[in-house]
């Protein structure tokens, strides 16, 4: 079950992971994109963390909405609207219930897909969101399953986003958005949100 407290911890932990891995994420993006995924996500999550720590939320839904709006207005690029749409959809779902974590993640994934039109297997963050959802549904979300889902993007040829310009030369590289999404679910694990 999500609470204001554990959701805050989750997203703050996510921010800290992004901050630590900013250079690495940009490096991954430089290989198959334009090299800004690290700084985009660092700018956005840092702003989000500051907002979260300075606001007293009365609901998880409200918290996700503020997180979404902050990401939308600070990340930019492709990942800004995507993470933003995810969190916005999660906010809506959390209005209905904060008990069903998989349902919230499912809403987030749908938000991303509505905005970005990517299916699973196109070498984007969708791949990790979808794998994480599967794992949540079967109660198998672990460091290992996350790592595997992230790693899996290495073998895929990109057909969405900037990496698609590389066609078959995109194979052999991790997708940066998949890696940052991996941190989101690692942070979830560490936040003791799921039993």
């Amino acid at each position: 079950m999500l609470t204001v407290e554990n959701t805050t911890t989750w997203l703050v932990t996510f921010t800290d992971k992004i901050t630590q891995q900013t250079a690495y994420l940009s490096e991954l993006d430089q290989a198959i994109g334009d090299g800004d995924h690290g700084s985009n996500m660092a700018r956005g999550t840092t702003a989000m963390k500051a907002k979260l720590e300075n606001t007293a939320f009365t609901s998880v839904s409200e918290l996700f909405k503020v997180a979404a709006m902050t990401l939308i207005s600070t990340v930019g690029g492709a990942s800004g609207p995507l993470y933003g749409s995810a969190f916005l959809a999660m906010s809506k779902q959390a209005e209905a219930s904060t008990e069903d974590v998989p349902a919230i993640i499912k809403a987030g994934l749908e938000g991303i897909q509505k905005r970005g039109k990517a299916e699973r297997g196109e070498k984007t963050m969708v791949d990790v969101w979808a794998a994480a959802l599967d794992a949540l549904d079967t109660n198998t979300l672990t460091h290992h399953t996350i790592e595997e889902a992230v790693h899996e993007t290495k073998h895929i040829q990109a057909t969405k986003g900037r990496a698609a310009y590389l066609a078959d030369r995109s194979v052999g590289h991790l997708d940066p958005g998949a890696v940052s999404t991996g941190y989101l679910f690692e942070a979830m694990l560490e936040g003791d949100i799921i039993q």
């Binding site: 334009d34 930019g76 690029g77 492709a78 800004g80 986003g161 900037r162 310009y165």
Partner: protein, 329 residues
């Protein structure tokens, strides 16, 4: 990385401050945003708003002014601006006749501009958008995936004059889409660009190599080759553009030779000279031509060549229409 700058993270702000100071007679910045607006607005006319990541100077803020854009939204370097800023630009630019967004075809730009459009429509503003995808570099891929590059400034110029001339939002949208179907661009890179926050070049190119079809963010092109004379580069680019545009003898066109940032005018004029003699062989009538840095890729060395078929006689008139913008056109 050798750049004249302060903190890499301050590049956008410092640049916009210097830009707005230099051109304070023509433009101003909405505080704490990357939105640059013109000082003199055309009451009752449709407003054009463009933008995208920064690093393409003078695009897009340089083209804000009478006869061209009403506002430009400047994102971080090579990063699409965010919907809230685009929304600010739309609100500021709208004079009651609606706003046309001119968007280059990148996933990030499309998504951020679409979100802004949705938000603006929720506030009761009429907004349309067109997508510029003139880069023919990656031939085999579907047309809808093509990148938007230097040809965008032709779109700004023609639509800007048409808007000043009183065209409606839907007329401008149609005209914009029409221009895009008659336009193609192809670039060549000799040296990569360095994004300030990254601190190292976006790709490697050997001392004797060039890459055809590279994008304005350093996206991969379609072929690497041995460095060749200007004539050979012109031959390659013109023949690729020809097979895309399928022009016929006697057709009227506009030509843009665009420097990518670090390539001096000397080389651009040499290149234009070779392009010129090829177009002459093709018996094309060049009604309008430009050489210079219009859509750069930070400090990339190279040029791009844009050809626009002047399918509509008005387009030439609009291209020649005088403007009052920070960057000359």
């Amino acid at each position: 990385m050798k750049k004249i700058m302060n903190q890499p993270k301050d590049v956008l702000n410092d640049m916009l401050e210097g830009f707005c100071y230099t051109h304070e007679d023509l433009v101003s910045r909405i505080n704490d945003t990357g939105v640059i607006c013109r000082k003199f607005v055309d009451q009752g006319k449709v407003a054009l708003v463009s933008g995208g990541g920064s690093g393409h100077e003078p695009s897009h803020a340089g083209y804000v002014g009478q006869g061209m854009l009403s506002a430009a939204v400047c994102g971080e370097v090579f990063t699409s601006p965010t919907p809230d800023q685009i929304l600010e630009a739309i609100k500021q630019a709208d004079q009651g006749a609606g706003v046309l967004l001119i968007v280059k075809n990148y996933t990030g730009d499309i998504m951020n501009f679409e979100m802004a459009q949705e938000l603006a429509e929720m506030e009761g503003i009429s907004v349309e958008h067109i997508v510029v995808n003139d880069d023919i570099s990656l031939e085999p891929r579907q047309k809808s995936d093509r990148r938007g590059v230097a040809g965008t400034v032709f779109v700004h110029k023609i639509l800007g004059a048409a808007a000043e001339n009183g065209a409606t939002l839907s007329q401008l949208k149609n005209m914009g889409n029409d221009i895009v179907t008659h336009m193609a661009t192809l670039g060549v890179s000799l040296l990569p660009a360095t994004v300030p926050e990254v601190g190292k070049p976006g790709f490697d190119l050997a001392e004797d190599e060039l890459e055809f079809g590279i994008g304005i963010h350093g996206e991969p092109g379609y072929r690497r080759e041995q460095l060749k004379p200007s004539k050979g580069i012109a031959q390659e680019l013109v023949s690729q553009l020809k097979s895309e545009l399928q022009w016929e003898k006697g057709e009227h066109i506009a030509v843009l030779v665009n420097g990518l940032g670090a390539t001096p005018l000397m080389e651009q004029f040499i290149f234009m000279n070779d392009v010129q003699s090829m177009l002459q062989e093709e018996a094309l009538v060049v009604d309008y031509k430009k050489v210079g840095n219009y859509m750069t890729a930070i400090d990339m060395a190279g040029v791009s060549l844009t050809i626009l078929r002047l399918a509509d006689a008005d387009w030439k008139t609009y291209l020649q229409h005088p403007v009052q913008t920070p960057a000359p056109f």
